[in-house]
Structure formats: structure tokens, C-alpha cells
């Protein structure tokens, strides 16, 4: 019974556990249940990814066959995304125990874990679904739950409330734009199922299809924090509780970029001239601008959490650039970078959270002076993730940069390759700033104790970075399968 229903169970387990966890009387019990639920989901996604012969599995919810019913598709792309989301959610949940206890009031903790599981369940539903409107429902489930999580940072810094409000309003506008686009596509084809849309859209009247694509992409770009509609991201990730920042930075925007790829390559896959126009003239230039804007703003940023958020914008630019180039190898490079960046940013935000909770104030360039000596375990894990961010060989970041550069060279875009290398070089600047302040300056404070419950999961993620930097074959294979699945083998 479990084996045949895995695509459904992957989404159902976190969502139903969320309800049970929110009723728990104490934060500790809630955390244990959350951890069990995330581990169970991770096990399900691993089974999903390893069994079967790689063919696309369609799971009809409610027994209604597609295209009349809602289906969950388990193809290469959704398997990879479900794996990434569930792995990072296990790591973040392990890390969250001590941090949620320190940053959030006791009586709110159980409900924070409920919202935590709702976010994870919503994102998993987002990547598994094969129905355009169902995608909106899961998108909003995960968005509203993550707004709640971000706003819980108000216990430490009241600016989290404004960040949460802006995230809510901007996110709601983005989701509504997406639904308008779906409405146009529904109007001309009469179906909401993604595979059916892909078949019917090429034959439909041209103008509504074009407008529908434009609205859908505009809405999804807001959610994915693509430049220039990324303004909600630095404040939201900067002021959220540390555990929440590490969870959201790792998985929330990736799921939206995945939706972008699904919309452009799967739903509109039969209209290559329309999507080429969109990719080459809109997404490509905006991605290049994101790469530079994010990196340059990160160089000038003092607050470490906001710095990491700005660098996230640049990394999202890399991923959307990979998708915009549009060849199978570049889409595969985009998926590789999605997987690796989830590990990198998850680890970096975990490290900054650990620093913040130990030194007791906001982590800025001035407050981390000399911390490398006072907190060696945490800071060295942060260094590993940082080196992975700039793409040092033997780390996961190097693998994704190499594949991205190879894909752009393959496509003959030498200028773009140069820009990628230039912005990578620029990102060394802000990493060097952090390293220099942390290790090269003397430490002038009192002795600090490092909690293994905090740096344990952090080292898990840092080691994953190194392991997947040396033995990258599993991720590369999954990404190749994902690229072929999402383009339907057309390219």
C-alpha cells in the first residue's frame, strides 16, 4: 500500500503531521514529532527516487484519472526537487531545536513547528503536482506558513514584522498574477492539467496564450525572488528566526524557480518561439543583472544575514540564467546548482544563526571579530560552506560552477561565460571580508561555549558539501534525468 501511494504520501505526511504537531502542549514534544515527520518524508522521497526504472509515474488523487482529476507526477525533476526539499528539511529540523527554544516564546513553539511542517508540506506538494491550479493552492499554503514563520522573528527584532508584511503583500500579488495567467490558459484550452495544456496550447489562439505566459512568469518571478522583484527577500531572511532563515533560504525560492522551469519548458514546451523570446530577452538579461546586483550589494552589506540574503539573489540569478539558456545541459546545470546551493545557503544560514545565538546580538561585521578562534567548530563549518559558495574545487559549489560554465560554452555564449566568472570572482570579495574579520583579528570578548546540538547539523551539511563536491555523480545523474523529464526530451 505504501509503495503504490508514495507520491501522495510524500505530501500528505508533512501536512497531516502539521495539524497534530500544532496541538502539542510543549515545544520539545512538537520538535520530536516534527523530526519524525521530516525523517519519514525524507525516507519516502529516497524510496521514490531510487525505485522504479526512472519512468514518469502519475498518481491520480481521488482516483479520478487525468485530465479530469488532479494528478501528482513523479518524474525525474520532481524526484530531485522532493529529495532536496526533504533532505534540507531534516537538516534544518535537527538544527532548529536549540534555536527555536532560544528565539521564540515557549507557548508559541508548538505552533511554530506546525507552520514549519506546513511550509515543508506545501513546498513538497508544489513540486509533486501536475495541475496548474493545484500548484497555486500549494504555493499559497507554503507562502502563508512561511510569512508566519518570518514574522515570529519579532520576538528578537521588531523589524521582522514589517519584513513579514511586505513578504505577504508582495507574495500575494505574485501568486494572483500566476492565477491570472492560468485563467488565460484555461480560457483557450479548457484544461488545467499540465501535460494536457502542453498538448493543447500550441493549437490555441495566440494572443491569450502569450498573455497567459507573461502573467504566469511574472507571478512566479516574484515568488522566486528574481531581479528586480526580489525586494522582499533581504529583509525577510534577514530578520526571520535563524532556524527559519536556514529552512527558507535552502528550499523556498528553489521550489519557485522549479515552477518557472515547469511553466516554461513543460506547459509551454510546444511553443518554442514564444518561450525563446521570453527566455532570451527577459529572463537572461535579468539573471545577469541579478548576479551582479546581488554580489555587489553583498559586498557592501554589514549585517551578515542580509549579506547572505543578497548573495542568495545572485545565486538565484545563476540558476535562472542556466534555465534561460535553454539547452538540456544548461537546464541540468541549473538543477545541479539548485541542489548544491540549497546545501550551501542552508549551511551558511545555520552557521550565522549559531553565531547569533552564542554571542547574543545581531551578527554584523563588527560583532564577529576574532570569532574564528573563540568558536572554531562553527566558524570552520561556515568557512567550508563559504568556500563552496565561491566554487573552490573539491566542494559542491565547484561542481555546479563547472557544469554551468561548460553549458554556456557549449551554447556558444562566451560573453555570458565571462560574466559568470567575473561575478564569481566578485563573490570572493565578500567571503574574504568575512574570513578576514573572523580569523585574522584578535578576539576580545569572553569565552564562548559551542553547543554540539547546534554545530552538529551544521557540520552534517558542511560534510555533505564536501562529499557531493568529490562524488558528484548522484546529483549530476539526477539533474540530467530532471532536465530530460522537464523538457520532455524535446531538446
Amino acid at each position: 500500500m505504501i509503495m503504490t501511494n508514495i507520491p501522495g504520501l510524500i505530501v500528505v505526511v508533512p501536512l497531516l503531521s502539521a495539524v497534530i504537531v500544532a496541538l502539542m502542549p510543549s515545544g520539545g514534544v512538537a520538535w520530536v514529532l516534527t523530526l519524525l515527520a521530516t525523517i519519514a518524508t525524507f525516507a519516502l522521497t529516497v524510496i521514490n527516487a531510487t525505485t522504479g526504472d526512472g519512468a514518469t509515474v502519475s498518481y491520480a488523487l481521488g482516483g479520478w484519472p487525468p485530465p479530469w482529476g488532479i494528478e501528482f507526477i513523479s518524474d525525474g525533476a520532481s524526484r530531485l526537487m522532493a529529495l532536496i526539499i526533504s533532505f534540507l528539511s531534516v537538516a534544518s529540523t535537527l538544527y532548529a531545536n536549540v534555536l527555536i527554544k532560544k528565539e521564540i516564546h515557549e507557548k508559541d513553539q508548538a505552533r511554530v513547528y506546525g507552520a514549519w511542517l506546513l511550509t515543508i508540506g506545501g513546498l513538497l506538494g508544489l513540486v509533486m503536482t501536475g495541475d496548474a491550479f493545484n500548484l497555486f493552492v500549494f504555493l499559497e499554503i507554503s507562502s502563508l506558513a512561511s510569512v508566519t514563520l518570518v514574522a515570529m522573528g519579532a520576538g528578537v527584532d521588531r523589524r521582522a514584522l514589517i519584513a513579514g508584511y511586505n513578504y505577504l503583500v508582495i507574495g500575494a500579488i505574485g501568486a494572483t498574477f500566476y492565477v491570472i495567467g492560468v485563467g488565460f490558459c484555461y480560457a483557450v484550452t479548457g484544461t488545467l492539467n499540465m501535460a494536457d495544456l502542453a498538448v493543447r496550447l500550441p493549437g490555441a489562439t495566440a494572443a491569450p496564450v502569450f498573455v497567459g505566459l507573461a502573467f504566469m512568469v511574472a507571478g512566479i518571478m516574484v515568488k522566486a525572488a528574481a531581479f528586480p522583484v526580489h525586494m522582499w527577500l533581504p529583509a525577510a531572511y534577514g530578520y526571520a528566526p535563524s532556524a527559519v532563515s536556514s529552512l527558507l533560504a535552502a528550499i523556498a525560492t528553489k521550489a519557485s524557480i522549479y515552477v518557472l522551469a515547469r511553466v516554461v519548458f513543460t506547459i509551454f514546451g510546444g511553443l518554442p518561439d514564444v518561450t525563446d523570446l521570453l527566455l532570451n530577452w527577459v529572463i537572461l538579461p535579468l539573471s545577469v543583472m541579478a548576479m551582479f546586483a546581488g554580489t555587489i550589494l553583498a559586498i557592501y552589506e554589514h549585517d551578515l544575514k542580509k549579506l547572505l540574503a543578497q548573495s542568495s539573489i545572485a545565486q538565484i540569478g545563476y540558476i535562472t540564467l542556466a534555465f534561460a539558456i535553454g539547452t538540456t545541459s544548461s537546464i541540468s546545470a541549473g538543477f545541479i546548482h539548485m541542489a548544491n546551493h540549497a546545501m550551501i545557503k542552508g549551511g551558511l544560514f545555520m552557521a550565522v544563526g549559531a553565531l547569533m545565538v552564542t554571542i547574543g546580538k545581531r551578527v554584523t561585521m563588527s560583532s564577529i571579530e576574532g570569532l574564528g578562534r573563540a568558536m572554531p567548530w562553527t566558524c570552520s563549518a561556515m568557512l567550508v560552506c563559504g568556500l563552496s559558495l565561491i566554487g573552490l574545487p573539491l566542494t559542491a559549489g565547484f561542481i555546479s560552477k563547472i557544469y554551468l560554465v561548460l553549458a554556456t560554452l557549449d551554447a556558444g555564449m562566451n560573453v555570458i561565460t565571462g560574466l559568470i566568472l567575473l561575478s564569481s570572482a566578485l563573490s570572493v570579495l565578500y567571503l574574504w571580508k568575512i574570513v578576514e574579520v573572523m580569523w585574522m583579528r584578535p578576539y576580545k570578548g569572553k569565552a564562548l561555549a559551542e553547543n554540539i546540538l547546534i554545530y552538529g547539523p551544521l557540520w552534517l551539511v558542511a560534510i555533505a558539501n564536501i562529499v557531493f563536491g568529490i562524488y558528484a555523480k548522484p546529483i549530476v545523474d539526477l539533474a540530467d534525468a530532471a532536465a530530460r523529464a522537464i523538457t520532455g526530451g524535446a531538446l
Binding site: 495539524v19 488523487l61 508559541d108
Partner: protein
């Protein structure tokens, strides 16, 4: 306070039960006409909110304790999810109502929709009432809601 005005007081007391009956009618006639869980939930919650507006939050909290109402939020979702899980255990896909009654799939569909809408109605009623408690009772230190505010 509004409860000192006899028109409000008497009208609310007369209307309270018929509103709930109307809400139940809307809930169970979702199969045949406009209705279903969402609409019925809002109507039933409106009855309680009317009571709270006229007679005050203290009286409303005695009538519908906030902790119990918050518990019903979760119960409604669990009814909905539970129908899906029962379908899974009976061998169908998630939320496959045909699997609820093996001898007569049409009856299974009927039963499934009924239970699911019941879950939705319970959840929507509780959510609307919890929202009212949260907003109307905001900042009141004597309010022991589900421990959320203050």
C-alpha cells in the same frame, strides 16, 4: 454596551438558533445547490460573532471557550485528512471515495463528500471564531485564549 439595548438583545437571542440551522442547511445541501463547507462555516461562525458583538467577549468566551474552538480547527482538518487515509487503507488512492464503500461506489462517493465537507465546515467555523477572538480580544490581558495573545 449593546446588551443594554433591548432590540439588540432580544433579536440576537431569537436569531441565534435559526442562523445555525440555516448554516446546517447550507452545509448539507452542498450536493444539490450552492453551499458546502466554506459557506456553512462562515454562516455558523456569524451566529457566534453576533452573540459576541451584542453580549460582549466575556459572555462569548463562556459560551464557546477559545481553547475548545482552537481544538476544533485541528479536528476538522483531521476529519478531512482522515477520510483520505481511510481511502488509502481500503486500497484506493488518497481521497478515492470509491474505496470507502466496496459494494456501492456511488454510496462511497456520497459518504466521502459528506465527511469531507463536514471537516471543512468545522474548520472554517473554528477559524472564523478564532480570528474574531484574536482581533476583538486583542491586548486584553484577562483573555485566556488558546494562549496565543498577550
Amino acid at each position: 454596551m449593546m446588551s443594554s439595548n433591548p432590540v439588540f438583545r432580544v433579536t440576537t437571542k431569537i436569531l441565534f438558533a435559526p442562523i445555525i440551522v440555516y448554516g446546517l442547511y447550507v452545509q448539507f445541501h452542498g450536493d444539490f445547490g450552492p453551499g458546502g463547507g466554506f459557506q456553512a462555516g462562515v454562516i455558523i461562525a456569524a451566529a457566534f460573532i453576533l452573540y459576541g458583538l451584542v453580549f460582549g467577549m466575556v459572555a462569548l468566551r463562556k459560551l464557546a471557550p477559545p481553547r475548545i474552538v482552537a481544538l476544533f480547527m485541528a479536528i476538522g482538518v483531521m476529519i478531512y485528512g482522515g477520510v483520505g487515509v481511510v481511502s488509502l487503507l481500503n486500497g484506493g488512492n488518497y481521497l478515492d471515495y470509491n474505496a470507502l464503500d466496496h459494494h456501492d461506489p456511488a454510496h462511497g462517493q456520497h459518504l466521502g463528500i459528506l465527511l469531507v465537507e463536514l471537516g471543512v465546515g468545522v474548520t472554517v467555523t473554528s477559524v472564523m471564531m478564532v480570528l474574531f477572538f484574536a482581533f476583538a480580544g486583542y491586548g486584553d490581558p484577562k483573555a485566556e485564549d488558546d494562549g496565543g495573545q498577550g
